[in-house]
Amino acid sequence: MDSKSITFFPEQASSIAGTVDNLYLFLVLISAFFSLLIAGLIIYFAVKYRRRSDADMPVPAHGGLLLEITWSVIPLGISMVIFAWGASIFFTESRPPADSMEIWVTGKQWMWKVQHMEGQREINELHIPVGRNIKLTLTSEDVIHDFYVPEFRTKADVVPGRYTTEWFRPTKTGKYHIFCAEYCGTKHSGMVGAVYVMQPADYAMWLTNGGAQGSMSQRGEALFQQLGCVTCHQADGHGRCPTLVGLFGKPVEIQHGQVVNADASYIRESILYPQAKIVAGYEPIMPTFQGQVTEEGVQQLVEYVKSIGPKDTTGAGAPTPSPLTTGSQPGTAQQRATNPTAITVPGKR
């Protein structure tokens, strides 16, 4: 990143970058028009009607209702167009496509830790293939951070205690900035990194170079054994706790007849705060695993639970999230801890 010729736009390196820039340019034009209109009128009036002598008297103009309505309604109309345009971009940005490749990102003061499904891990770097939809699931170990890639025109806060998501489709190979955009303490400006967008073949090569020891779900399975989860959560459902086989993405009935979706946030919560939601018909006997498992370990456990989830999730069988029917925002950058996540496609890998 040498100091090239002066530019006013970051590179357009994602599928939405162009859309965002178009709206931006539209707004620049609107703003230029109104700024010049106001400035022009003020200068014109100031010169034309300048006071030439002390005897100079103005001509009063009594407010015209028509004029007031005109200059209220026109800006209102324009701003509603901007609103709708901006909201439609946002809606796209907030809903990761179902075929997205998933990557886990954990922020902590002051670094980014990335886990790929295949098991590769990296710090302050993110390697991804060009042309694929990428969905990041983000969380923080401490304070709020924000994962920002200007060249992709998107960012999402990384909030401790919950999963948020962010997705993009890189359209251009290259190296781009990762910035932490939410102030997070001393080395906030040092919490930066690079996204490497690669040709799919190069990416496949890169995946094999990592020397990763098992995929995320395999590591999750190992943790599942190691932490003793398996003693209660038996596969055949005869343990003292509900079985986790076929659970992922399904609705679960908890106490008081409430129903929650068994998504990543729910699984994370059940591991760290097991008393928060008790499955109907079971005793609240599970101990918390806070302090015994890291955020990354939890992510591996989630992937393990996902891997033993319902087999038919590629299409109709999956709980297709619809914001209108669930009243929440599946798989959005704005995901609350209790919302269902978007469907995933375990069959891919």
Binding site: M57, M80, F90, I144, P150
Partner: protein, 541 residues
């Protein structure tokens, strides 16, 4: 305020009516209290400005070479806290509003003179707390105090600073209450609501926000202090709290707070434009009601600060749309001010230059508000320099131009002295140019993706940072000029007549400076505000 030594012929006024430090520190005269505020607020302005200068010097180069990251973080935090809570919020209301509201409505004083003095002491006490935190090593959370960083991770003086702001809030509440009661109960005979100057309408709307909004920030800060001090889990997820809840509470106050800063400036601008056009503002009632509309709608848009915070998508959409609605009353004001100049008798005095500067900067600030309210763009530019530029155009471009315009407009009334015309016009132009050079490049930086609150930044952002720092040096010089020539005018400026600008408000009908009781006899109002003598009437629309 050492004005001319009294001679035999010097008429009595509020300044020479009594002498000695005690007569000032125990005064109940709203005009003297306004002067007390002026002194302290000015001191805070230059302190906050000093931090800004250090920030801009640091950012002239990509590397962190002037100070280390901890110091840098404290600099922008203290800059924000001092400028927002101890300069911008009290500036126009507590100084000009305090001085002028009773004069403009034909009253002897505010409704509660003792509470008015108490407000000043509370303000000073809050300031002392904050300065104490600063002396002990400062605070590094940003003026926004986002949790859980502020409650569980920051190693700085969060509680002392929070208490300072908490205490200071009561000053704003009491001032707002005082204004509301005064405007309701103390108007001179014949001063009906629709004869009130627009400055008074703007302050009425501001006071509503202060009274209704400030308690929320006070409670929020208290909760923050409880969590930090006693580890009661409210915001930190590790303690079972919700960090985004804090952001909702914080912005529920802090977005309306922007209107506490800008509405009074709009009131000032309405007065100045009318006076130097020698005619009534176009659309008086539209300007008046747009102030009220801004105050009401301003409470409904806080969620636009949380578009990427994990707030729900649908909440984001509602807040985005409401943010556009709150822009309309501001647009109405700008169009009405501009139309006032049509067929007017325009005099380019110093206050008028500031008022026009206000319109220019506020227009750019407002229009860039359309960018950040657009969800799809905000995801890209939020937490970048685009937002920094946007709110400085509103809060510095808007509020400070309004403040300086008001100070220049009423200076003869407040002090009884005229300032140097050439110097004051020159400084208005320098400030306008310096401001734009400082903050316009930051829009570009923001769109390029430079995050805010970055001590160190990638080298490709340097060009625009250097431009911004160069602009800041011009701006800083511009702000020092009025300080010098206004002080100079106190001793050496020519004596001001009662009505140097030929304005028609009640405040211009009493002497300059006014007597302690404001008016020899209580005025009786028989006509609308802004009744300038004009030529034949024309009907528009």
């Amino acid at each position: 305020m050492i004005t001319a030594t009294p001679t035999q012929h010097e008429p009595k006024n509020y300044i020479n009516s009594d002498y000695g430090i005690k007569s000032w520190l125990l005064t109940q005269d709203h005009k003297r209290i306004a002067i007390l505020y002026l002194i302290v607020v000015t001191a805070f302005f230059f302190l906050g400005g000093l931090f800004a200068v250090l920030i801009r010097i640091e950012l002239a180069t990509p590397a962190g070479d002037l100070v280390d990251s901890n110091v840098y973080n404290k600099l922008f935090t203290m800059h924000g806290i001092i400028m927002v809570f101890f300069f911008l919020i009290p500036s126009i209301p507590a100084i000009l509003g305090n001085f002028l509201i009773p004069l403009m409505i034909g009253a002897k004083d505010l409704a509660f003179p003792k509470i008015n003095l108490l407000s000043w002491y509370i303000y000073v006490a809050g300031g002392v707390f904050t300065l104490y935190a600063l002396m002990r090593g400062g605070v590094d959370t940003g003026w926004t105090f986002y949790t859980p960083f502020s409650t569980s991770y920051s190693n700085s003086y969060v509680i002392a600073t929070g208490l300072g702001i908490f205490i200071n809030g009561f000053s704003a509440i009491l001032t707002g209450l005082n204004f509301i009661v005064t405007i309701h109960r103390m108007r001179a005979p014949g001063m009906t609501w629709f004869r009130l100057p627009l400055f008074v309408w703007a302050h009425y709307a501001t006071s509503m926000i202060q009274v209704l909004g400030t308690p929320v920030i006070a409670v929020t800060l208290l909760l923050l202090i409880l969590e930090r001090g006693l580890h009661i889990g409210i915001f930190d997820p590790a303690l079972g709290g919700d960090p985004v809840l804090y952001q909702h509470l914080f912005w529920f106050y802090s977005h309306p707070a922007v209107y506490i800063m800008i509405l009074p400036a709009m009131g000032v601008v309405s007065e100045i434009i009318s006076c130097f056009c020698k005619k009534a503002p176009f659309g008086y009632s539209f300007i008046a009601f747009s102030s009220i509309a801004i105050a009401v709608f301003g409470f409904l848009v806080w969620g636009h600060h949380l578009f990427v915070s994990s707030q729900s998508v649908y909440a984001g959409m509602v807040f985005s749309m409401l943010s556009y609605l709150v822009a309309i009353p501001s647009a109405i004001k700008v169009f009405n001010w501009t139309s006032t100049m049509y067929k007017a008798s325009v005099e380019m005095s110093t206050p008028m230059l500031y008022a026009i500067g206000f319109i220019g900067l506020f227009t750019i600030g407002g229009l860039t508000g359309l960018f950040v309210a657009a969800l799809g763009i905000d995801v890209h530019v939020t937490d970048t320099y685009f937002v920094v530029a946007h709110f400085h155009y509103i809060m510095v471009g808007g509020a400070i131009m309004g403040f300086l315009g008001g100070i220049h407009f009423w200076w003869p009334k407040i002090t009884g002295r005229m300032y140097a015309d050439t110097w004051s016009k020159l400084s208005a132009i320098i400030i306008f140019v310096g401001f734009n050079l400082t903050f316009f490049p930051q829009f570009i930086l923001g769109y390029l993706g430079m995050p805010r609150r970055y001590h160190v930044y990638p080298p490709e952002f340097q060009v625009f940072n250097v431009l911004s720092s160069a602009g800041a040096s011009i701006l800083g010089f511009g702000y020092l000029l009025p300080f010098c020539y206004l002080l100079y005018s106190l001793k050496f400026g020519p004596k001001a007549p009662a009505n140097p600008w030929g304005a028609v408000g009640l405040e211009w009908q009493t002497s300059s400076p006014p007597i302690s009781e404001n008016f020899e006899v209580t005025p009786v109002v028989t006509q609308d505000a802004y009744q300038y003598s004009t030529r034949e009437e024309v009907k528009v629309g």
